[in-house]
Structures are given as structure tokens and as C-alpha cells.
């Protein structure tokens, strides 16, 4: 049963004419309100994940629940459809269970608050924000056990409930929830911060309604959606072919020794609509790498990629949703059945962007970017220090940005919007750690006319015994290059014990014990290269050699011979000619070796056994 919205004033909004200027003003004002939400959040949140790294996402939607400003598209529609209850003035919804909102949030760590905004008894808008909690209980610190086999092992699950009910705060509920987590102070502060952000935005919306009139505001948001619909319709017609194109890529493993998992998407245009069909994607995993992908969110991702690749001027909202149809097979990695574990969904989420890029760019390789949206590598480190104080670190790492039509991919930067690293001096001050090295890995970016960004080698020295967990991907299937660019280097993790013993750790592991003095090299992936490396200016390689971004050996991948740091022009010409002849025609994509070859060489190349091909005892249901 869908939610019942209780309004004391049922007068429908009148459609009134909105002049262009007012429309633009309202759009700007909404955008500013969204910026205010972010500002409020980072100023009041406490967990490093939110306050330093920015792992939180705001949204403002119209009275029908369609997103007007925000990043990941609206989940309000699916929520309203499945929420069995009322929604009235003074209510605020709190939830974290992905299955209760059709995957609009994708793991239970994301706590979401949703505020219906009422004015004069009438629902005028929604404001909402969700943010990643450092811990929500469950079997491991950080609550993202890669080896979880069901969602019950992943901590507290909050179905949609009212944290505020008709203006009354439900303190008991919050107490109950915070009782389940290892870091109640952080969670409480972060929850307060989410609520404060939604309230700030709600205040702005009401002010806008007062300034322009409720009818004008409602008509304006309709028109903003309509404006976006028109722009996207044009873009789709000019850029999406009627003939289906497919693209596939892989999640390396599931943390339990199985992999890789295939994700596949086919795209075509049919009667003015884009169809995105994930048929061919592998079935769901028994571990936690499943990604419950919400169809609306997929539409938003697609829209954003279209815009960024083809015309970055357009602002996006929910207006174009009717132009896209998303088909995801039930029981697949992207639509797992309850109660499949979901906490490790970040890898599939990241891979989705590589797939989108590959899909959209096939028809127009000049717009194509290379791959490198590995995932968002996580490190957890927890324990009790010598003074008896519990500590828990959750860090998100960064790797190489892919080579782009615009230029080289930046080294060691974030592909996720708004994310930043945590200052190492901050970490050293508040956690029992030393960061001995924080630099990018030379040659790790894929060679290209525009090279991929280098991955990062971050060296942690643990000062207290404890447990660590690592979640990373792109260690087995490399990030691909395009238009002649080569794949980027793969991720790896190396533990050096105090006595010098070196242990290669899996890129997904859980509850691994470390001793004081152990040193961890957390090495992330390099971005794929873009364009023909043999066309890159040799002088640039000489410069990057002095910068420590490439090595003399690595420069040979560009056909450049550096002798004592200086370009040997004759040798370079000779090498380039030889390489050109040997390679033949340039293919649009360079995926590196095929899966079987990767498997065969896995142990030798990575020091880790090859993942085992997963077997499923039931088939994926056809849609």
C-alpha cells in the first residue's frame, strides 16, 4: 500500500505561467539551498567519513517526489510506493534498509532522512540527505563484512520509520538504533547533521514559496523538469543509436575466492526512448558484493554521463526519466533477492561507471574516456590501544583518474564527487598510526597520448595491534585503455612484518590481525590510458622522469628511450617505428589479456591465487 499523505489543505497547485527569468532564479535558489545542505553537514558531522571525506548526498524534490537538485536521483517515488503509513506535517522519515526503498540507498551503512515540507497544510516539497555511517554494528568494525552471506550480518537495518512524528522526536527509537553500533557518538552527530541539513533546505523552500507564491514554485519546478526532458530528448536522439551496442566489464572477485563476476549492459534507442538492458549480467553473489541497483538511480547515472560526455552545460534533474527504460534481471548481481548481503556494493557501483563510459563512447570514440573507476577502496583498522581506548579507522583511498579526451588523468585523485582524502597529520594525531609514505606509483597510469593517472602507494605503520579489513578491486582485471591507450596497473596490498617478512594480502579481506610495527602498502589502481602512446611528446616523458611519475623503463611503453634522463631521439624513433609495426591497427578498447590468460598468470603476476569461476545452482530469471 502506498503512503497516505495527509494534508489539511488539499487545494491542488494551479499551473501558472512562469517567465524564463523567474524560472532561472528559482533554479539558482534551489541550487544554493543544496550547497547550504552540504555546508551544514560538513560543519557539524563528526565521523571522518562524512566530515573529511564528504561521503553524503543531498536532494531537494518537488511535491511529487521528483528530484529538482541533487546527485543520485530521487528515491522518493519507490519509497512512497512501498511505505505503508501516513506522511504529515511534522513527520520526518529515517531509514537505512536498501530493500525497503528498492535500492535507492544501496547498503545499510547509508542512513537516510527524508523531510516532507509542508506549508499552510500543503505538501510543497521534500528535502532529504543520506550519509555513510562509520559503523552500524554487525560482525565487523565498520559493518561492511565482505564475507557476509546475508544482510543480517551487516548490522542494524532500519526500515522507514518516523524519527519525528507530528513534531514529536522519537528519542527511544534513536536510542535503540545507537545501541546497535560501535561508534554511537559519531552516528549520533552525523544523524543530527543530516537532519539539520534537511531542515535548512526546507526553510529555504518555504522562503521561496513565500517569495514567489506556492503555485509559481510548483509550476517552476514542473518547468525545470520539462526543460531537462527536452534537452535530454534532443541529446538522446543525436547520440544514442537504434542498433544495440553492448559493453561488459568485471568485478574481480567476491572476497571468498570466486570471480570474476561479469556485468553487462546493452543500450539502444527505440521509439524515442533509451533502453538499458543488463541481460547477461552474472547472478547474485553469495558474498556481499551485490549491488541492489535502483532503476531511477541508473537513469540518473546515465543522464549525468550523457551530459558530462557530450554537453556539460546542462543541469540535471529527474525530468527525463520517462525517456529511459532500465531492465535488470531479477536475482542478478544488480538485483539480488532479499536477504542477500549488500555491504560490499561499492565495487559494482564503481564498475557501472566504467561500463557507462564504454557504452556511450563506442559510437563516438573521440568522446570516450578510459577506465579507472575501480571502486572506492576501503581500509578498516580497529582495536583497543594500550590505554584501553577503542579506536576505529575507516578510510577511503583514491587511485588514478583515467586518461581523457581533455588530457592526462590526474594522479591519485577522486572519481567520486565531493570526496577528499583525510590529512595524514590528522590521522597520525587521532589514530595509532604513522603514514610513512604517501605518493603515487610511477608507471601505474596506463600509457597513452593522454596517460592514465597514477595510483597511490600509501604506507601505514600500525602502532597498536588490531584487525584490519581491506576492500578493493581492479587487482585482477585491469582498467582498460582506449583509442590506443594501454590498461592501467592493477591494485595490490603488501604487509611487511617488523622482521621484514613480506605477505601479499588479498585485495578483499576481513578481520586480518596486525601487530604493532607492521607496515601495510595500500596500493591502488592506475587509470587506463587514452590515445596512442607513441604520439606522446618525448620531452614530456623526460620531464615526468624527473618528477618521479614515470621511470626510464616505463617510458619505453611510449616508445621513448631516455638515457641519463635525456631523450635519445634516434633510439626513440627506431623504437617507435618498431612498436608501430608490431602492434598493427589500433583497436578502440585495449582490455589487456583475456580472462583465461589473466587466470593462468595470476599467481605469478599478483602473488595471489586466481579467483575461481563462480558456479550458480539456479539460473537468473529472465525479465
Amino acid at each position: 500500500m502506498p503512503a497516505r499523505i495527509i494534508q489539511t489543505n488539499e487545494t491542488p497547485f494551479k499551473t501558472v505561467p512562469v517567465d524564463t527569468v523567474t524560472l532561472d532564479i528559482i533554479e539558482n535558489a534551489l541550487r544554493n539551498a543544496r550547497i547550504e545542505m552540504d555546508a551544514t553537514l560538513v560543519r557539524t558531522a563528526m565521523s571522518p567519513g562524512i566530515r573529511e571525506q564528504g561521503d553524503a548526498f543531498p536532494l531537494i524534490a518537488d511535491a511529487k517526489g521528483k528530484m529538482i537538485v541533487g546527485q543520485f536521483g530521487s528515491y522518493i517515488g519507490p519509497f512512497l510506493e512501498s511505505f505503508d503509513g501516513t506522511l504529515e506535517d511534522g513527520d520526518m522519515i529515517f531509514l537505512s534498509d536498501p530493500y525497503s526503498v528498492g535500492g535507492a540507498i544501496s547498503h545499510s551503512n547509508d542512513w537516510l532522512v527524508l523531510l516532507p515540507v509542508f506549508k499552510d497544510g500543503r505538501l510543497v516539497a521534500y528535502t532529504s540527505m543520506f550519509g555513510h555511517q562509520s559503523d552500524i554494528g554487525g560482525k565487523v568494525p565498520g559493518s561492511m563484512p565482505i564475507d557476509a552471506t546475508n544482510i543480517f550480518q551487516e548490522g542494524v537495518r532500519i526500515p522507514p520509520v518516523k524519527i519525528w512524528k507530528k513534531g514529536e522526536y522519537n528519542e527511544e527509537l534513536v536510542k535503540l538504533v545507537l545501541h546497535q553500533v560501535r561508534t554511537p557518538d559519531w552516528c549520533k552527530a552525523d544523524l543530527n547533521a543530516l537532519i539539520a541539513s534537511c531542515r535548512v533546505a526546507a526553510r529555504r523552500v518555504i522562503e521561496m514559496c513565500e517569495r514567489f507564491g506556492d503555485d509559481m514554485f510548483a509550476s517552476a519546478t514542473d518547468q525545470l523538469l520539462e526543460r531537462n526532458y527536452r534537452a535530454m530528448k534532443q541529446l538522446i536522439e543525436s547520440s544514442v543509436p537504434e542498433t544495440p551496442v553492448s559493453f561488459q566489464d568485471y568485478i574481480c572477485d567476491d572476497g571468498m575466492g570466486y570471480g570474476p563476476y561479469k556485468m553487462k549492459c546493452t543500450m539502444w534507442r527505440e521509439k524515442g526512448k533509451v533502453i538499458l538492458d543488463f541481460d547477461g549480467t552474472d547472478p547474485q553473489s553469495e558474498a556481499s558484493i551485490n549491488f541492489l541497483l535502483n532503476e531511477n538511480m541508473m537513469k540518473m547515472f546515465f543522464g549525468i554521463y550523457m551530459i558530462m560526455v557530450f554537453d556539460p552545460q546542462i543541469l540535471f534533474n529527474d525530468g527525463y526519466y520517462d525517456l529511459i527504460e532500465v531492465r535488470i534481471p531479477e536475482g542478478s548481481l544488480l538485483k539480488p533477492r532479499f536477504p542477500a548481503a549488500l555491504s560490499g556494493r561499492t565495487h559494482a557501483l564503481g564498475r557501472l561507471f566504467d561500463i557507462l563510459g564504454g557504452l556511450l563512447g563506442q559510437g563516438t570514440p573521440e568522446f570516450l574516456n578510459a577506465a579507472g573507476f575501480s571502486s572506492s577502496p576501503h581500509l578498516f583498522y580497529a582495536g583497543t590501544d594500550r590505554n584501553g581506548k577503542y579506536f576505529q579507522l575507516f578510510q577511503i583511498g583514491f587511485g588514478g583518474i583515467p586518461g581523457r579526451p581533455l588530457g592526462d588523468g590526474p594522479d591519485g585523485h577522486s572519481l567520486w564527487p565531493g570526496f577528499t582524502n583525510v590529512p595524514n597529520e590528522f590521522i597520525e594525531r587521532y589514530f595509532p598510526l604513522t603514514i610513512e609514505r604517501y605518493e603515487t606509483v610511477p608507471d601505474s597510469g596506463g600509457a597513452g597520448l593522454h596517460r592514465g593517472g597514477n595510483g597511490i602507494d600509501m604506507v601505514y605503520r600500525f602502532m597498536e595491534p588490531g584487525v584490519i579489513a581491506i576492500h578493493d578491486d581492479r587487482w585482477f582485471v585491469p582498467p582498460w585503455g582506449v583509442n590506443g591507450g594501454k590498461p592501467g596497473a592493477r591494485a595490490r596490498k603488501l604487509l611487511v612484518k617488523a622482521d621484514g617478512t613480506e605477505i601479499i594480502l588479498p585485495n578483499k579481506c576481513e578481520d586480518y590481525k596486525v601487530a604493532a610495527g607492521d607496515k601495510l602498502h595500500f596500493v591502488t589502481w592506475g587509470g587506463g590510458g587514452w590515445g596512442d602512446p607513441l604520439e606522446r611528446d618525448p620531452a614530456l616523458l623526460a620531464k615526468e622522469l624527473t618528477q618521479g611519475l614515470v621511470t626510464a623503463e616505463g617510458a619505453r611503453r611510449y616508445g621513448v628511450v631516455l638515457v641519463d634522463g635525456i631523450v635519445d631521439t634516434a633510439a626513440t624513433e627506431a623504437l617507435r617505428t618498431q612498436m608501430r609495426t608490431a602492434r598493427g591497427t589500433i583497436q578502440t578498447f585495449d582490455f589487456g589479456p583475456d580472462i583465461e590468460t589473466l587466470r593462468a598468470n595470476c599467481l605469478a603476476e599478483t602473488g595471489l591465487p586466481a579467483p575461481i569461476q563462480p558456479q550458480w545452482h539456479y539460473a537468473v530469471a529472465a525479465e
Partner: protein
Amino acid sequence: MVVHRGQPGSISLGDDMTYRLGVDVGGTFTDLLLFDQASGGFWRHKTPSTPHDSSVGVLNGVAAICAEAGIVPADVEFFLHGTTVATNAMLEGKGARVGLVTTDGYRQVMQIARSFVPGGLAGWIVWPKPQPLAALEDTVEIKGRMDAQGRETAPCDDADIRAALETLKSQGVEALTVALVNGYLNGKHELRVAELAAEIMPGVPVSLSHIVLPEMQEYERTLTTVANASVRPVVSKYVRNLRENLRASGMAGSLSLLRSDGGLMSSEKSEEHPVSLLMSGPAGGVTGALWVGKNAGIRNILTLDVGGTSTDVALIENLEPRRVRTTEVGHLSVRASSLDVKTVGAGGGSIAYVPELTGALRVGPQSAGAVPGPVAYGKGGELPTVTDANVVLGYLPENLLGGSFKLDREGAKKAVQTIADALGIDLMAAARGIIDIVNENMFGALRMISVQQGYDPRHFALMGFGGAGPLHVNAVARLMGSWPAISPVSPGVLCALGDATTRMRTETARSYSRRINETDEADVLAQLEDMARQTRAELTAEGIAEADITSLFELDVRYEGQAFEVPLSVDPATLRAEGLASVQARFDEEHARLFTFNMDSAHELVNLRAVALGPSLDLEAPKLQQGNGDPSAAKIRDHELWFDGAMRPAVIYDRARLLAGDVIPGPAIVVEMDSTTLIEGDCDGTIDAVGNLLINPR
């Protein structure tokens, strides 16, 4: 350009040295304002800036304004100067080639930065990554390490440092920065590098991170120190050159520069610490607004400084401007105190356009700048700008008083018509639309510094200045609900006025990072007193009498675990009497005001800060002659302008002839040498006792 006498000055005796001269160097004009400290009379002057060497323009201006006032440069006791020399060097990448010495393992600290990519999801596709301010090839590592408590865990090594410095020397770096991990807690290794640098590369200026910014966060501290090193040679050269030329012209008085935080520092100090000058330009406007507010009896002010390409806004509460700990320059955020000035790409030269795909009307941030400029200026501009829309609507009349150039109204119309055609609306609606959008952009910036910080703009007046501020101030005040809208005396040279009327300032900060319940006021007071001694000594060294120095103190407090602090001002007597508990209570109050909630978490005292201020200028603005309320004697001519959907009759007045108490009914336009004020149809403008124009809804 024309020298305009604002008020009659007293007759100078020539050797009194009773004059203060404020000089603001902007992109297009150098503004000067000369104050007679005895009478309060002043003169203002505008002269073209000379970007190749700004001191030429300054000296031209000095000569002209002294001649007009009938004095010689030797009569000037204080030369007070706001400059964008440091800012421009940063923005245009014309700083020095900086060598950076970092800790082993951290060579790429500037390359990786904070890993942040601006823009939303997929923003990385279109982001051009800027080059680090210290090039990676000019960055070297040295051995040695401090831990997060400031204890040495590995020693540095002279041979290793020498080798690193030799490398930088051979590469020809022009300035040196040393920024080592955890150096903010212990500067021993940085000092050793400086000692060896003095020997190996004498003459190369050295900036040390633990001195420039003794604060946690390696990237920000390194960046700030590099920024300091980078602009140092440029600023130093400029300041020395200016000082020598002024001295040669006979000026013997003191020479000070305006800091980003609105205080003054000696020209010598500014050579060492130019990173404090990055917002020197906009800070002048804020300090000018402060002086105007003080004289007009208005204590809460939002400022709106509208230039050709951008608009700067700031908030003044109870005659105290808001300060922040960061200075934003281009894409860089440097840790140096500055007035909380937000800049938006919206000004007279902002270009209006209609993107094909969305059919929306956009204004800025692209600007026609000074060249080619708006179409109406007839200097080759072809794209419609905000100024052109103002011309079309009749807000900017053709014959500017005393101005030598004529506006090309037809050209402006033709340009704005292209927008009208693209939108399918008529000319006037398009022009008004451009103005509405640009006003909205200014409104957005003002909200960020007011509403977003928990201030209610309805408790503030809005002051518009800069060339175009008074044209927009009435409309923006309406959006904000901030009345009155103020067009101050001399709105075109308010920055120079600010330079002339502010006071010396210096400050120091220390990281404290302790829970309030784990320390006590005695320890805090002891540290504050030590910091007071240090800052006061800096001012006495500048020749300020000990008795004239005021010390102020601030504590940064947060809930333990938060990333942002709330600064609270304290005085030692109250702190001694009421203890840290009162600080805690005030923090809770402030936090609830800002963010609507409180927490029961521990309070952390993050930083201590001490400020020392020189004497304030007790100079009253001269009173204007009282009129009878009727402005008609100042009327220049009848006019027509667009208001409320139609062209309506209006009157143009000459500001110089308006008297105190005159009430001007809108719609009206008030013109003066360098600025034009628009009073909208349903508002009245009143001239206050000292000549400010206060606009209120009728």
C-alpha cells in the same frame, strides 16, 4: 582624471604632517583618498592603473591629489595602501619559481593535494587539473621525522639536506619553502634546513611552514607556505620600489599595507609575509564600509562591492566584520586570516547568453572585462553585458556627469535584442531579465555569508559601492529584506577610504587541541598572555606606543570530533572570573543558532588566538549642510526609466548638490563623478547628515 573635492579642507600649513592618504590599486583605476586629520575634510582622485608597474600610477595619483589639496607629499603622515599585486601574481602564475623541501615519502604532497575533483558525479571528465604551485620537479625530500606529538622519531641529516638543497639550487629556484610532516608541532628540522639554505643558496628567501602557519594539515600548511614563498619576490620588489619612489618624492611618513583581514601592517612586514595580502584589495571596501557605518550610526551592514567582472560581498555585525581562517584565490584555498569576503562572477561586464539546448537565460561568469568591455562603452565589445542592460533600461544615463565619454545606447539595445530574440520576448523584458539574474547571483552570494551563517539579513543594511554597486543596491536590498540600501559618500573610492581609515593589526594563533574538561583557565590565560606579549611587541616595534595598543583574544571551540570550530571572543578578566564553563555555554548557544542543535559530546578547545590592534582613528566625517528636504536644487534634468513593466518618468540629480535631509522620491537617478545610484519607483532616498544616501521602501 578629474579631481573632485568632496568637502572643503582646512588650509594646510605644509609642515604639519596631518594627512592620511589611502591608495587602492584596482585592475582599471587607482583610487586615492586624502584625509585631513585636523578637519576631517577629504579629497578623492581616480587615475588609470599602470599594470606593468603599479607604482607609476600610484605616484601619478599622489602628485595630482597633493596638488589639488595644496600640500606636498611631505605633509602625508600615513600612507595606507591596498594592493592586488600578490593576488594577481598568484592568479596569473607570475609568482617566483619555488623550491619545496618535504619529508621523505611526501614529495607528491602538492601533486595529490586533497584528491578532490570539483564538479558533481563524472565531473572528472571535464576538470582541467591545475599545476601545483611548487612544481614537482622542484620538490625534494629529506630524511627525519617528527611524530604527531612533536617528538623526533628520526633525526635529519646535514649531508642529506645539503644534497637536496644543491639540487634545487642547480635548478634555479628563486624562493624556498620548507614544509615537513608534523612540523607545526616542532620546527627543529625546518630550522636546520633554513640554516643550511642560508649558506648554500644565500639571497634566496626562505619560508618555513611552522612559522608561516603553525597548524595541522600538511597539504594546507605546505600550500600556504609555498604561496607565501611564491609571491614574496614580486611583492618585495613592488613594495621596495614604491617605498623608494615615495621617499624620493619627499614623503617621510609611515607606509603600511592593508592585510586580508582588514588590518594594516608595515611595508617591511608585508615583504616577509605577503600571504597575508591576498585579499588586500577587497578588504579595503569592507573597512571603508565600517567607517561609513560608524559615522552613519549603522552597525549591521552587508557590503556589495560591484566591479566590472565580479562582485565582493561581506558581513559586518555590530561594526565588526566577520573573519575567516582561509583566503580563497582562484582554485586555491590558502590558510591565512581574511575578512569573510565572497566573490561571485557577476559584474557590470558579465555577459548574458542563452544556451541552445536549454533555452535558459544565463549571465556570467564570463565577462567582457575592461577590454573589449560592454557594447555601450564603444571600445569594441559586441556581446550584451549587464551594463548594456542597465543602459537600455535607462538606469545608466548617457551623459555621465563630468564624464568625457558618451554611452552607445543604440549599440547596447542591439546587443540586448539578441537575447530578446533567443528568448522570444521583447527588448525591455530581456534587459530586465539580465538585471534580475545578475541581482539574483549577488543575492546568492549574500545569502552564503548571512543566512547560511545564521544571520537574518533583515537585521542588516546593504551598502553598495564600487563602480556599479549603487546601481544594484536598491534591487538587491529588496531581495534580501535588508534596509536601508546605502549608497555611501564616494562609493567609487570606498576601498581607498577604507585603506585610509583602518588601524594596524597583527595576530598569532596556536594549536591547543585539548578537551575543555581536561584543562583549566589558568593554563589558557598563561598562553594568551604570552601571545599578547608577542603581538604587542610586534606593534611597538612598528613605533606604536604601548598605551595605544588593544589586545583581543579568541578561542576556537568545537564538539570533539567535529571538523569545524566556532570562534568565540573572550577577555581575560571574564575568563578568570567565570572560567571555561562560560565559554562552553556560549559555544552551545552559538552552535544552536548556527545549526539548530546541541550535543552532549565533550567540548574541544582547538586554537587560541591573540590580536593586537593599533590606535583607531577617531575621525568624524564632516557634516553636510542641512537642507530643507527638497532636492530640486540638485536636479539635473527629467529622464525616463523602466520600472514595474513600463517606461516611467524619473529625475536625474547631481549628488554634489544634494543637502542633508533631502528626500528624493523614486524613480530617480543620482549621478556623481565615478558612480550612479538608482532609486527604484516605490522607494525614497534620504541624504543623511554626512552625505550618505539611504534608500527605504516608501
